[in-house]
């Protein structure tokens, strides 16, 4: 670092002891280009099916191989699927559907939405760092610049860390026609999973903060869920006008999960053949545990139709879940809906342009039990890290201890959503125009949320509590028009939906706030009565001070409210963010954080277009989201003096300097630790429109096929995600929820550098004999 060309003796190059020699990349390394690539996908499927009087069968083999768009990541899957059904006699049928799948995945190290994954390093590594040093070894950044690691090296070292998964799932069933109108069915399903990963982390001597010790973690998981489903179905037409369908059923589910993991370090060599726990000599740790949950339900369903005009559906369901304490275990969820097929009324028959019209109304309840498996229990746990202590003063051993690991909440009960639906469907003009409309109001009561317990209560996993009430109101519209002119067929359609989410009530105190996740920043999501779920939270920025006088005239920003404190305060000077004094107390501090944005969209829409001419067919499908905001957390790393890594062009061009009235960022100061707090600066318009799918299909005429002994064959060319229209500056505006076992919607629309959707072009051939 800092040496001029020719002044370094390259013969002193050495990995151990570390004397790596790297030349600055004067043109700059584009780290995104270095880790992303175009990659092929293969998908082959071979199937046979057939039927006799007594049996039906189908079997297919599938091979799927997708090389990731991120270098050295991939997913491979082999699967076998078999369905059979036998008629034991006229009244009894027995069958099964099973699938066997083996998958191998090499993902990005450290997972998605992590500050230590290759995407995050790609925007942090200084571009002056080249990919390789003078000897072709991975180059690291100089410690004086930044501590980020080379994403290329990270991916290379991760390339043999395969996540292997073996999955068996499916069901077997038997059906008996007890009477002419009465059928009994019993079905037993299973989903069985085995998972293994040997995750090796080799030394990274080039890194500014090298790990210093290679490490292997081995993970074995085992999981099964079985579902037993029994129904008794009665179907009867009474006279010409009445039709009845009734189902009585039970369902029980049992799920069990167990994991074992172990870790060692100090491996003599990095060879793949040596990456087994027994070869590690130090840092021996291991852990294991299990979990289970069960659900038992009974339900009855009644459908009644009168004269194909009036329809009535009613359902009553009783659910009992092991996740709640016995006294709150049981919940009953009724639902009822009615339909009126207007087009079957005699007074409508005269309308020749109307083919079908139906009005619908329904009210029903559903439950949510996603609160983890043991929410009701207060439990004590033991862990060497957190509850062991060296009472004997031995220095190299400690005595085991226990601590409260989870606060139980035995009072939690089912969260219930009551939905009211009013809808209308119609087909007009010889079924060319298809129209659908729905209005809905979903009211969620006893909303379950992992409330942080009193800060004076100690630390253990927070239990879910029933905190309040929320509504989602909205409409859904769809319109489709299809027609045919000679050899030319076409259809054009669109759908539109919108919802408004409001948290109606929490504890009764409108100031009660439930926060989302803490990153390196304080939480940027809050759930509070009167606002949408997981609204964005932080400071409101009202521009940038152009003069010192303007800064001093404003409220004292993060200092006490005295002229002396303000006079020397860099945040009351020209070039600093001007924060809004929400509580009007003359001081800007944490109390001025407020709700600053909404991750929920104004509306969502989709369009589709199909054109067919003779044997050609073109399908186009696009969808969009409008009016939502995204909290672009990546800006914390690229737009503020966070560590010493790469900075955005935005910071270079839009930082304030004297006279710059359209600046977006404050004057850069290396010790500015305030401006990066969650604020409106991070919010971006998340609207986008994306062409999800374009497909051109050619069906080979059967006349040609017959000559070569095929029954059907087609060729297609497909493009996915070819076009995205958005103003969002991050990698991808389609942001998913943070991956979290339960309660993940406490934070919505926060982009921590999420893995982007990829654009793909596929060529396919499908043949049947």
């Amino acid at each position: 670092m800092g040496a001029t060309a020719g002044s370094v003796d390259e013969s002193t190059y050495s990995v151990i002891p570390k004397n790596l020699i790297t030349k600055a990349n004067k043109t700059g390394t584009n780290w995104f280009d270095e880790i992303f690539r175009s990659a092929p996908i293969q998908n082959h499927q071979l199937g046979v099916s057939g039927a006799t009087e007594q049996a039906r069968y189908a079997m297919s083999l599938n091979y799927f191989n997708q090389q990731g768009i991120m270098d050295l990541t991939s997913y491979k899957r082999y699967s076998l699927r078999a369905n059979t059904e036998f008629n034991v006699n006229k009244r009894v049928r027995v069958g099964e559907n099973f699938q066997l799948a083996y998958g191998e995945q090499i993902g990005q190290p450290n997972g998605n939405q992590s500050e230590s994954n290759p995407i995050s390093f790609a925007y942090r590594v200084p571009p002056i760092t080249p990919v390789y040093d003078i000897k072709g070894y991975f180059a690291g950044s100089p410690t004086v610049l930044d501590n980020s690691r080379s994403p290329v090296a990270e991916l290379f070292r991760n390339k043999d860390n395969k996540r292997k998964e073996m999955r068996i799932f499916g069901n077997a069933y038997a059906e008996v026609d007890i009477l002419k109108d009465l059928t009994a069915r019993t079905q037993f399903g299973v989903d069985y999973n085995l998972f293994n990963l040997r995750n090796y982390r080799a030394n990274d001597p080039e890194s500014p903060e090298p790990v210093g010790n290679n490490t292997l973690g081995t993970f074995n998981n085992y999981e099964y869920t079985w579902t037993w489903y029994n129904t008794l179905t009665y179907s009867k037409a009474l006279g010409d006008k009445h039709r009845i369908n009734a189902i009585l059923g039970t369902e029980s589910i049992k799920s069990y999960f167990e994991f074992f993991q172990a870790e060692r370090s100090g491996f003599a060599v990095d060879d793949i053949s040596n990456r087994y726990l027994g070869a590690g000599r130090s840092g021996i740790t291991n852990a294991g545990s299990g979990a289970e949950w069960r659900l038992a339900s009974e339900f009855v369903k009644l459908n009644y139709a009168f004269d194909d005009k009036y329809l009535l559906d009613a359902t009553l369901r009783r659910d009992r879940s092991s996740r709640f304490a016995p006294q709150f275990r049981t919940a009953i969820f009724p639902a009822v809906s009615a339909g009126w097929i207007l087009s079957n009324e005699s007074f409508m028959k005269g309308l020749s342009w109307l083919n079908f019209a139906k009005a619908r109304i329904g009210v029903g309840q559903t439950g949510n039990q996603e609160i983890g498996n043991y929410n009701a229990f207060s439990t004590f746990a033991t862990s060497p890290e957190s509850s062991f202590y060296d009472l004997q003063g031995a220095n190299t051993s400690s005595l085991p201890g226990y601590e409260l690991g989870q606060f139980g909440n035995a009072n939690a009960k089912w969260e219930t959503t009551t939905s009211t639906n009013i809808g209308f469907d119609a087909r007009l003009f010889n079924n060319k125009l298809d129209f659908g409309f729905d209005w809905f109001n979903r009211r969620t009561t006893d909303m379950l949320f992992p409330v942080e317990v009193q800060f004076t209560q100690g630390v253990a996993a927070n239990p879910f509590q029933n905190i309040g009430e929320m509504t989602n109101k909205g409409i859904e519209l769809s319109l489709n028009y299809a027609d045919k002119k000679g050899d030319f067929t076409y259809s054009i359609g669109g759908n539109f939906s919108t919802y408004r989410n409001t948290v109606v009530k929490t504890t009764g105190d409108p100031n009660t706030q439930y926060f989302g996740f803490t990153t390196r920043l304080a939480p940027m999501s809050v759930t509070q009565a009167g606002y949408p779920l997981s609204s964005f939270f932080g400071y409101q920025i009202d521009g940038i001070f152009q003069t010192d006088a303007e800064g001093r005239a404003h409220a004292a920003q993060f200092v006490s409210n005295t002229d002396a404190a303000k006079a020397t305060n860099p945040y009351n000077k020209a070039g600093a963010f001007k924060y809004r004094d929400i509580n009007n107390d003359g001081v800007i501090n944490a109390a001025d954080r407020t709700i600053i944005g909404n991750p929920h969209p104004d509306f969502m829409y989709g369009v589709n277009l199909s054109l067919g001419y003779k044997d050609f067919r073109l399908d186009i499908f696009g969808q969009g989201v409008q009016g939502n905001q995204i909290f672009n957390y990546v800006r914390y790393w690229t737009d503020f003096p966070t560590f010493g890594g790469n900075r955005s062009l935005r910071m270079f061009e839009k930082s304030w300097r004297p006279g710059m009235t359209d600046a977006q960022l404050p004057i850069p100061r290396s010790n500015d630790v305030i401006s990066s707090n969650p604020s409106t600066y991070y919010l971006e318009d998340g609207s986008y429109f994306r062409l999800k799918n374009i497909q051109l299909t050619y069906t080979i005429p059967s006349a040609i096929l017959k000559k070569v002994g095929l029954s059907t064959a087609s060729i297609y060319l497909q493009g996915q995600n070819w076009l995205t229209l958005t103003k969002y500056e991050g990698l991808d505006p389609e942001i998913n929820l943070r991956n979290y076992s339960s309660g993940s919607d406490r934070q919505i629309g926060v982009d921590e550098g999420a893995y982007p959707a990829f654009r793909s072009t596929n060529v396919g051939l499908s043949i049947s004999f």
């Binding site: 037993w228 004590f380 060497p384 957190s386 209560q457 630390v459 993060f558 944490a590």
Partner: protein
């Protein structure tokens, strides 16, 4: 055909009845209920868990707080906030500490929550012990009393920490705290808690043994007395403190070690000078040496081929180094010490007198640094930003916290 029908009917019948309430009873796996621990062995396990937070380090259960923020010696809230040390590292790393250093912190600063969590979790664990021991039937009253005295020592200590760092805090005792009621500790912080800290420590002082055989990490009468005396001194109640301190000096059986550096070596932990130490252990089965003074995990030398690589925080201030200057008699220069700087590089000769303890406290260029050899200037991550000295007491199990 009849036979098949019969089988299915039986299956459906079982299906409808097997979902009895037993099916829905599950037990958490790999963890214990309070009932499992309501016995002598269980009490000891929970008590060890309460001791375990003396280092201020927990694992992060479902949250994003960094474990080291609770570090028992308060390097952030004490040394960095005072003139003893700088944040260190570089400007962009852990900028919140700079805010604390400059007294610019707001109530949402996440580091304080890290400290708060550690002390209030310690309090909760101590209360768990007190509540548990009351339900146990296989222990004598004397045994129970000794356990309660240890738990109250710990509870007093954790509250002392809370009082020291946050001032207006609530005192949570075993009558207030109910682990199954998330709001049980929602109590006001309007009352001065010194009397309750004193009551806990006084109980411990009067009920703990003088020594524990083979367990120097357990609280003793003298540890409780020393902590109580410290609580008095912080409140300027010197007479009350002196009574206890005289008792410790006269009856405690402690003596100053022959060599100053014995207070900085793992081999001489818990020596004759030591009244109470936080015990650290490495290679004890805990991941990332989490019991080995994890609170200082960011505070190792950064570059220059150092054995550890992260992260160069907590660097001694020039002011601290200057405070080691002495007069000809070896006494500190109380008012004038900071007028001339002691250079960081001893090749620039400093002609004045220095207390030899300086080089047990601070790493200086050119001076041997522990057993790592001569202090390498590149150990310091960013000399332009964070001064040029490096903290000395870096060895994993070497760090002591004295009460």
């Amino acid at each position: 055909m009849k036979k098949i029908f019969f089988t299915i009917a039986v299956m459906v019948g079982v299906g409808l009845t097997s979902c009895s309430d037993n099916f829905l009873e599950v037990q958490p796996l790999g963890v214990l209920s309070e009932g499992n621990l309501t016995n002598r062995a269980g009490v000891d396990l929970v008590l060890t868990g309460a001791y375990s937070l003396l280092d201020g380090v927990q694992t992060n259960v479902g949250s994003a707080f960094a474990d080291w923020q609770g570090s028992a010696d308060n390097w952030v809230y004490g040394s960095v906030a005072s003139d003893d040390a700088y944040k260190g590292s570089n400007a962009g790393d852990q900028p919140e500490i700079s805010v604390i250093e400059a007294f610019g912190h707001t109530s949402d600063l996440v580091h304080f929550r890290g400290k708060w969590r550690a002390v209030y979790d310690g309090i909760a664990r101590s209360n768990d012990v007190v509540q548990l021991v009351a339900k146990v039937s296989d222990m004598s009253d004397v045994e129970k009393n000794t356990v309660i005295a240890q738990a109250r020592f710990l509870r007093g200590h954790y509250h002392f920490e809370a009082r020291k760092v946050f001032k207006n805090v609530p005192y949570i005792d075993d009558k207030t705290y109910i682990s199954s009621d998330a709001n049980s500790t929602k109590v006001p912080n309007t009352e001065e808690i010194w009397p309750k800290i004193e009551a806990d420590l006084d109980f411990a002082y009067k009920n703990l043994p003088n020594r524990w055989t083979g367990a120097p990490g357990r609280a003793t009468k003298w540890a409780a007395g020393a902590l109580l005396a410290k609580a008095y001194m912080v409140q300027a109640k010197y007479a009350q403190a002196k009574t206890i301190l005289d008792d410790i000096v006269n009856n405690g059986g402690f003596k100053i070690v022959a060599s100053y550096h014995d207070n900085h070596r793992a081999a001489t932990n818990n020596n004759s000078e030591s009244i109470f130490e936080v015990q650290f252990s490495v290679n004890d089965g805990a991941a990332i040496s989490n019991n080995g003074n994890r609170g200082h995990t960011l505070n190792y030398p950064y570059g220059g081929g150092a054995l550890t690589t992260c992260c160069g925080f907590f660097q001694p201030s020039q002011n601290l180094v200057n405070a080691f200057k002495t007069d000809a008699n070896g006494l500190p220069l109380l008012t004038t010490f900071n007028q001339v700087d002691v250079p960081s590089d001893n090749s620039q000769a400093f002609t004045g007198n220095l207390d030899p303890r300086l080089d047990w406290t601070v790493g200086r260029d050119g001076v041997p640094y522990l057993d790592w050899g001569i202090h390498n200037p590149q150990y310091v991550r960013d000399r332009a930003y964070a001064a040029t000295f490096l903290r000395r007491n870096n060895r994993l199990i070497n760090q002591k916290m004295e009460v």
